[in-house]
């Protein structure tokens, strides 16, 4: 098991390296003088020169990349151009809310998606199945922002059920919980569709397996067959596929955070890009990319736990 974990972790090193390299190369594509861009339009030539020397921009590209990697690994991501705070501390504040939002979304949408997918598979071909398929196709065809705006419009504004602006403290307080409800609902609603669909496919495949026929032949109750034999085995591919949907979830989170003014990394990234705050933008994109890699790593490891055959 530990070997499997180490193996997967080592495999993600080249990807991480690629992410850093791409982040670095993107900075090379910036039109004009990077030092000038980072310094901002008001920077004097002396300041620009200082930035150039500090960042090693007058050295060869390969050296620059190594310097950049060294700085990133030491947690030095530069300073935000807008409010002159260290990028790393801005990110440290934003990463918690993003993780909260993701967890709050997964906690309710994955179980419901799995339940819907199983119900659809069990009722294959009849009205219930078709209804669930239709709802999940509609789900994957709807932009996150549409769901978010509708929830703000009705649940937030007209019916005054829940707050829809920002975060209000930790989740164990009433206020904090109320504020995360609508963002988590938004993100979860678009995630149910894919999960239900994947579960249905996986469950249908398992239902044809010999051991399911054996279980039925033993005279087990249909409920037991479905829960013990079908669902448990169908969950393995579903977990993997949820990992592959991490990018989809990340994109949804960026949009959701922006709509609900949720103070997470996604909103930080979008704000930084719109304000042309290059160091902050680069730092937050890097964090998003790394979290994507970490999610996939966690899924891989989980996969090994659920299916010991993989971990060998």
């Amino acid at each position: 098991m530990a070997g499997h974990l180490v193996h997967r972790a080592v495999l993600s090193v080249p990807v991480l390296f690629g992410v850093l390299l791409l982040g670095f190369m993107l900075l090379q594509l910036v039109p004009g003088d990077v030092a000038q861009v980072i310094g901002g339009p008001q920077a004097t030539p002396e300041v620009v020169e200082q930035i150039r020397r500090d960042l090693g921009l007058d050295r060869p590209l390969a050296v620059q990349f190594l310097l950049y990697m060294g700085r990133v690994l030491r947690g030095d991501l530069g300073y935000s151009m807008i409010n002159n705070t260290p990028v790393i501390s801005e990110l440290a504040e934003a990463i918690g809310p993003t993780a909260e939002l993701m967890v709050a979304c997964l906690v309710w949408s994955v179980p419901i998606g799995i339940a819907l997918g199983t119900v659809a598979a069990v009722n294959r071909g009849n009205m219930l199945d078709r209804l669930i398929i239709a709802v999940s196709v509609l789900g994957v065809s709807t932009p996150v922002f549409f769901v978010g705006l509708m929830l703000i419009m009705y649940a937030g504004y007209q019916w005054e059920l829940l707050p829809f602006l920002g975060r209000a403290g930790p989740l164990w307080t009433r206020e904090g919980l109320a504020h995360i409800a609508l963002p988590a609902l938004t993100l979860g609603l678009i995630f149910i569709g894919p999960v239900a669909r994947m579960t249905r496919t996986a469950a249908l495949e398992v239902m044809n397996a010999d051991y399911v026929r054996t279980a039925r032949a033993k005279g087990l109750a249909e409920r037991t067959v479905i829960v013990r034999h079908v669902l448990r085995n169908a969950l393995i591919p579903v977990i993997t596929l949820i990992g592959l949907q991490a990018g989809f979830l990340l994109g949804g989170a960026v949009v959701t955070e922006t709509i609900f003014s949720w103070p997470g990394v996604g909103r930080l990234a979008v704000g930084a890009i719109l304000a042309r705050d290059l160091p902050l933008a680069q730092g937050s994109i890097l964090v998003l990319a790394v979290s994507f890699i970490v999610i996939n790593l966690v899924v891989d490891v989980l996969y090994g736990v659920l299916d010991p055959r993989v971990a060998k």
Binding site: P14, V15, G18, V19, L22, G23, L26, L27, L29, V30, P31, V137, L138, V140, S141, T142, P143, V144, F145, F146, L149, M150, I152, M153, Y157, T201, P237, T240, L241, L244, A246, G247, F248, L250, G251, V254, V255, T258, I259, A269, V270, A272, I273, L274, R276, L278, A281, Q282, I285, L288, A289, F292, I293, N296
Partner: protein, 305 residues
Amino acid sequence: MAQSTATTTATTTAPAAPAAASRPPSALRRLFRDRLALAAAVILVLLVAAAILAPWLAPNDPYLTNTRLRMLPPVWEGRGRWQFLLGTDGLGRCLFSRVLFGLRATLLMGLIATAIGGAVGLALGLLAAFYRRLDGWLMHLADILLSFPAILLGLAFAAVVGPGMTAVVVSLAIATIPTVARVTRASALVVMGQDFIEAGRAIGLNDRTLLTRYLALNCISSVFVYLTLRFGQVILLGSALSFLGLGAQPPAAELGTMASAGRNELFLAPHIAVIPSFVIVLLVLCANVLGDALRDLLDPRLRNG
């Protein structure tokens, strides 16, 4: 998803791929026996036609602002006017005309990104299957690209070249490449295992003819099916980026940008945000329904996605 389909198709060498290409008319007829797919195809054709004919169909200038006619509701609500079928937006511009032009921009964005990404992905996938020496390298490259979700590519490009349609189209095209390459490679490997490739070699055909005539034509149907499904996702991602302000810039009419602008008047005039969003849903829904039907018909192996 792409990874799982790639491995399953590569291992189960079912000799099925080239059959569909030889009888397109009957496949089309079977497709349209599925009423839902037929409806989706009709709506898509209508939407595309509306987008192409936008300059002639639009009753008003989509960019003409009028402060006295701000936030008019659609005609089906009491205060609506027939001159503005879908009402006006926050600056008094005709929403119907803007939706037509916005549809044009959104469709064009999706088509260009899907076409570029699809073409490059197809080429890479074919090369990987044909020249086995390249295979490992190309697929490693695809894996690294896959570890950059499309939304991050969009953010990164917008950060570097500045927000705009170029950043969106380029990032969506790049994000499309690795998955298309994987789908192409998987179906090309099946084709490569068949006798007619060997026969082609035996009669002395050069690599170029083998690649384009023998291999590419036999893979094109699976890739096309995949691209139809991908098209919907590209539209969703593109409009999300535009919604964030990273795509088409105001005053340009683009559905995502328009939905975003509607946020300002969400409580006073919800139709300004709702109508463009609804058109996006319609577009993506039809692409997905049609893609699903095509897949079941032409390439059931992709079904896991």
